[in-house]
Amino acid sequence: MSERASPIRWSSYRNLVWVIPCVLLALLLRGVSIYQFAYPTGPDYGLHLLFAEQVLQTGALPDYAENYQLGLATWPLLPGGPLIFGIAAAVSGESVFSVIHVVLFFAVVEVIGTSALAYQVFRRTDAAAAAGAITAALPLLVDMMTWAGYPNLIAVSLFPICFAVWLRYWQTPNARWLLVLTLLLCGTASIHHLSTLWLVLTLGAFSVAHLLTAPRATLRRLIPLGIACAIVGLPIALDAIALTTQQDAAAVLTGSDRFDSTRVTWEIFARVITPMGLLLIAGVPLYLRSRQIDRASRLLIGALLLITLLFCFGWLFGLRFYYTRALYFLTLPIAFGGASLIIAWKQRALRWLTALVLIPAIAISGYVRAQTASAYFEIVTPDLIEAVTWLDEYSAPDDVIVTGTFFGFQLTHLIDRPHLAALTPDLISNAEILPLAADATAIMMGLDGMDSALLTHNVRFVVVRTRLPDIPDPDRSRRVMEAHPRLRLVFRNADALIYEVR
């Protein structure tokens, strides 16, 4: 028996050279929204950074978002996603804003995780390489980077390795895999509420399907896992339960009409997944019918696809939560469908031809999307920072500021002032701020309630974007402010107009 530590066999790592271009492609495409701009693009990360800052300042999970919607908004989120930025900031000693680039690391996690899962499922290097390359090139998460849905992106990036270990545990249910799977599932479940829902439903559907065919073997795997997850993930489960009851998730899923405007229609679906439609519609049936792939692997990806399509087209059968966000969960089925399609050809030349045509085409689509969407979502700019600095200098600590949606997500972590953001209902997760957002919208759009909202909330400044896009339309907001007798333009630069309420 050898007492020496087992050495790493570096020679076996040489076979993984193909992973490097896949990872670089993912970094190149997803990094556009970070390295081509002065500050990362997108509105959403503003609130995540605010949450992480609040945790680091107080050492505890905050109940309310400081200053955001006058400080009356609860945090409708699971803490894991923003906490990753908090952990990175605390260890490096930088501000949370300065470590935002760590999100790019999850491109690496996703590509390698997908390749590992594909290697386990297909047991072929070419399929693993194809799935990794397609994941790297797909415009879906590139798009998510541009609007900064970071917690969602982080959680989705961890799905492949969770699924890989899940299948591994299903195949070999021992203590080592149980421990690893428990950590992965509990940690991933703490990151993003919607992704947690997807993860639970997918694994739930998989388990139910197995329970029907092999109840004893399934329970032998599920019971230890359930106990381990209940113990290790107790605080995370309690957070999730609290969030579900606090936000009345059942009502949101079944009765809310907030998401009517973002319903996934066939037209949106076709536009978003072009040119990946071929991989999804033609590739996934190939994957699901393949006899070279074991039943559990087919069932797992099938379950993920089923849950995603149910949420995409839930409006067809009365599910009210038919948010376009569901489309982002299609990455794994598309990657596996693509890999199946590529390896389906018996002739090596056709395999190469398909791969060399499809993957670059998707990558080009991803690059075009990265460029256009990043430019669209460029919100924090040096000019906005200049405007914020001006506001900081010329406003009192309790002066209320009103903005549109895009500035609204970002302003709260840039300046310590009470703030009202005009958001449309589909952008709001926590119902208690719907009236405040409606008041801010009335101010920005010059609606009937504008004057009373200005008085009620004691608004001192209104900040309007100088250019499209924003919600509400910034051109209309500018015309409203210029026509209003109580408002006076006090600051302007290329990005922001600041009006003072007299």
Partner: protein, 212 residues
């Protein structure tokens, strides 16, 4: 010859349609042709036709095992499981010690410096905890799996510990966050030592029993 040609006719047709369709879509996306051009319509229809033909092909295809390339019986593991279980290699001890020492020293002396942000923080947060745990639990993982598990275990492990810290009510200070990463790393480092100690004690007991 004719039979082979006939058998490959459908795949070749599908491949041609995919090439035509994909090239057309790419040309439209980079602005070389308009989405209203006939060329784009042809490309889109080629993709739709290819999709339909793949579905037909899938339905008709006889599933044969001969498409699978030769692979090891279990591609997920290497055949090098040591009898005494995984042990922490010396280089990992050195990396853990140097990494933690440097990170804590620089965090205290010069918080926010570039070396901490771009080298030590990723090492401490994204790599070391998962690496030590993975090394402690498995010594027989295929390289791709070994790489994939490291960051995922690091991140999820820390999130679980941080969730407990917050739930218990311990303030989440930078020291507590360092401790969370450190505890996870330490578990990974100590697990093989504890296992070896248990093995030695068990072996000694067995020896004594056999000598009696």
């Amino acid at each position: 010859m004719t039979t082979r040609l006939r058998a490959s006719l459908l795949p070749i047709t599908i491949a041609c349609l995919i090439v035509i369709g994909t090239v057309g879509v790419v040309l439209a996306e980079i602005g070389r042709i308009a989405y209203t051009d006939l060329a784009y319509s042809i490309a889109e229809n080629a993709l739709v036709t290819a999709t339909a033909l793949v579905l037909v092909w899938t339905a008709l295809q006889r599933q044969k095992d001969d498409t699978a390339t030769t692979q090891p019986a279990d591609p997920l593991t290497l055949s090098r499981q040591t009898a005494s279980g995984p042990q922490t290699p010396a280089w990992l001890w050195a990396l853990v010690a140097i990494g933690n020492l440097a990170a804590v020293s620089l965090r205290l002396a010069a918080p926010g410096n570039s070396f901490s942000t771009f080298v030590l923080m990723p090492l401490l947060v994204f790599i070391l905890p998962g690496l030590t745990l993975q090394q402690a639990l498995f010594d027989d993982l295929a390289p791709l799996w070994a790489i994939a598990l490291v960051p995922a275990l690091s991140i999820t492990g820390q999130l679980v510990i941080v969730a407990w810290i917050l739930w218990i009510g311990i303030p989440l200070t930078p020291a507590a966050i360092f401790a969370a990463a450190g505890v996870l790393t330490l578990i990974g480092v100590l697990l093989p030592i504890a296992r070896r100690a248990i093995d030695r004690i068990t072996a000694r007991h067995a020896e004594r029993r056999s000598s009696v």
